[in-house]
């Protein structure tokens, strides 16, 4: 497939994605699909940011929701305290707060590897969660932060379901482009180097600790933006946004989709959203076990399809082609 053709197709897909509410309106009056897709895209942005760490840099973080939550709270609180709802300000606050938190936590965790790194990120993120849960004065504590303002850009109000979706979709396309560009850049290649053989990278002259820290902060910032979008979508921030459950969710999404690929986190969010939103409506109401189903699917992938859906797809494609 010639590059120009591929680019045209991708651009067309992106446009179709962003304008989804408009061309789907005839058969989508309840906006169920729009909301579902919107939330899936927020998860996709979140997962893409985590994949920078897990898939590219080889840093398995189980505390990524701390930055998602921080961004969500920052957007909501900035809107309320600064009496503004202008997106550049609130999104900027979200990115800034998430980045700072990622810097603080990053400095502490970046020198560890593998399982120890995983545990440290988990423990530190849980502490952030607990602070959010108990600091009622600032975050609303266990009641959460309600009354998150309407996102505005100049005079355009993005809080209608359609426009909110468009905002999320555009951010998703931007995030996907960013990750795609990163993967092909010297930076992305250096991250892979750190993942594959950190000792050798240091022997080549790379300051690997700083590389990992930069990846950690970058990933945290993007997660913060995803969190802000989530806050605007639901007009509400709960402490659970920063909790272990949310970190696990993102991790599951990345792994099940296929770590280290662009399509992985995206496919993963589609599957996870399906399990969380669509499956419950297929089961009897009293049987609320979507989390258990997610857990089982995750176990199955870890045991039998570690490379995720994208990896499976590639394997099948290669096998078919060699016939």
């Amino acid at each position: 497939m010639r590059p120009l053709v591929r680019w045209a197709l991708v651009a067309a897909a992106a446009v179709a994605l962003v304008t989804f509410p408009y061309w789907s309106a005839p058969w989508e009056s309840t906006r169920f699909a729009t909301t579902l897709l919107r939330d899936a895209l927020v998860l996709a942005i979140f997962a893409l940011s985590l994949d920078l760490l897990v898939g590219r840099a080889g840093m398995p973080s189980l505390g990524h929701a701390a930055f998602f939550g921080a961004g969500a709270y920052a957007a909501g609180i900035a809107g309320q305290r600064l009496a503004t709802d202008q997106l550049p300000v609130t999104l900027g606050a979200a990115a800034l707060v998430a980045a700072l938190l990622a810097l603080v936590i990053g400095v502490l965790v970046v020198r560890s590897e593998g399982i120890f790194f995983l545990m440290l990120t988990l423990a530190l993120a849980q502490i952030v969660f607990a602070i959010a849960f108990q600091w009622t004065a600032v975050t609303g504590g266990s009641n959460g932060l309600s009354g998150v303002g309407r996102p505005m850009l100049a005079t355009v109000d993005f809080s209608s379901p359609d426009l909110m979706y468009v905002l999320v979709a555009i951010t998703f396309v931007a995030a996907a482009l960013l990750v795609w560009g990163l993967a092909r850049s010297p930076y992305g290649r250096a991250l892979i180097g750190v993942r594959e053989n950190e000792r050798r990278m240091r022997a080549l002259g790379y300051d690997t600790a700083r590389l990992r820290l930069s990846a950690f902060v970058l990933a945290g910032t993007i997660a913060g933006i995803a969190g802000a979008l989530s806050a605007y979508s639901t007009r509400f921030v709960s402490a659970q946004d920063a909790g272990l459950g949310n970190s696990v969710r993102a991790f599951v999404t990345v792994l099940v989709g296929g770590a280290g690929t662009l399509g992985g986190p995206i496919a993963g969010s589609a599957l996870v959203s399906l399990i969380e939103r669509v499956v419950p409506s297929l089961l009897p109401v009293e049987l609320r076990i979507s989390e258990a189903i997610l857990g089982l699917v995750f176990i199955a992938f870890v045991l039998f399809a570690r490379q995720g859906m994208v990896g499976l797809g590639r394997q099948t494609w290669l096998r078919v082609r060699s016939r």
């Binding site: 398995p60 189980l62 502490l108 965790v109 020198r111 560890s112 590897e113 593998g114 399982i115 120890f116 790194f117 995983l118 545990m119 440290l120 988990l122 423990a123 530190l124 849980q126 502490i127 952030v128 607990a130 602070i131 108990q134 600091w135 009622t136 004065a137 909790g243 272990l244 459950g245 696990v248 991790f251 599951v252 792994l255 049987l287 609320r288 076990i289 979507s290 989390e291 258990a292 997610l294 857990g295 089982l296 995750f298 176990i299 870890v302 045991l303 570690r306």
Partner: protein, 291 residues
């Protein structure tokens, strides 16, 4: 703060520390032997509490629950280890991931079977009173928890140092592969270790129930969060690490909550951060190859 209050809070800190020890020791044991961080440990803790709930409902006996819950968890551990972990031998990160999946399943099923409301379990008759202590009255049960924690620590220490099993464990913590080469059935060893860790978590669930209640979310708070903080601070894989960590985190958390209230967790954060900066493997931990 009056002296009586300080004393009371000190006892609270100690009883919390004792609880933390019972909880964290299982996590530390499994890691020391198998290099697996069992992230379903909090779920095991939660399951222990809920099983105790049912046993007490059925039989009225707290003591029976204290036997039944660890037993039930041990059985679960014996099933899960060969099912999930054995085929991932050597892939430590994946083993951890699989325990995450198990945790998701267990917690959701608990909610489905027992409901998602807040429940409670009272201390057994005999331990549910208060005792006159310096400057006031203090719940007997909390004193029991302290005593139990100390007794367990001593018992584990004795087993660890003086028995054949303890020797196997110590050897396994050093080099499990070597044990296999020497003819020890490592499959059985790992399964029983995992089961023991699960049983300890379940035991902690029962004992903690009268103090912390039984409710959704207990698998992470206090379950997993506190066990992880204890072992990160105290040092992973060693008994003394679990003791040191619990003795440090228990009182710190209690006093933190009294002094700083809303942001007491910041105190814990500060301790964790300090320890990590000074000694990344925890106070009494061992350096491990972690990939």
């Amino acid at each position: 703060m009056s002296l009586e209050l300080v004393f009371q809070q000190a006892l609270n800190g100690l009883s919390f520390g004792a609880l933390l020890f019972i909880l964290a020791s299982g996590l530390s044991l499994v890691f020391g032997m198998m290099d697996v961080v069992n992230l379903a440990h909090g779920a095991f803790y939660m399951l222990g509490a809920y099983v105790a709930l049912s046993v007490v409902q059925l039989t009225g006996s707290f003591w029976l629950a204290m036997l039944a819950a660890p037993l039930a968890l041990a059985l679960l551990g014996l099933v899960l280890e060969p099912l999930l972990l054995r085929r991932l031998r050597g892939r430590h990160l994946d083993q951890v991931l699989v325990t995450i999946g198990a945790s998701l399943v267990i917690v959701d099923i608990i909610g489905q079977l027992w409901g998602r409301e807040v429940r409670s379990l009272s201390a057994p008759p005999g331990l549910d009173g208060s005792v006159a202590l310096i400057g006031g009255v203090y719940p007997v049960y909390r004193l029991f928890v302290i005593a139990f924690g100390v007794a367990l620590a001593v018992a584990m220490s004795v087993v660890y140092r003086r028995t054949k099993i303890g020797m196997l464990i110590r050897a396994g913590v050093e080099d499990a592969e070597m044990l296999g080469a020497l003819g020890v059935n490592t499959n059985r060893l790992f399964a029983s270790t995992f089961a023991t860790g699960a049983a300890l978590a379940g035991l902690a669930g029962v004992i903690a129930a009268p103090v912390f209640g039984v409710q959704p979310g207990m698998d992470t708070d206090p379950g997993l969060l506190y066990s992880l903080v204890v072992v990160v601070v105290g040092g992973l894989g060693t008994l003394s690490g679990a003791v040191a960590g619990s003795l440090l985190v228990g009182p710190a958390d209690t006093f933190g909550k009294v002094l700083f209230q809303d942001v007491a967790l910041a105190v814990i954060f500060a301790i964790v951060a300090l320890v990590l900066l000074l000694k990344p493997t925890g106070l009494l931990g061992r350096i491990r190859v972690t990939r």
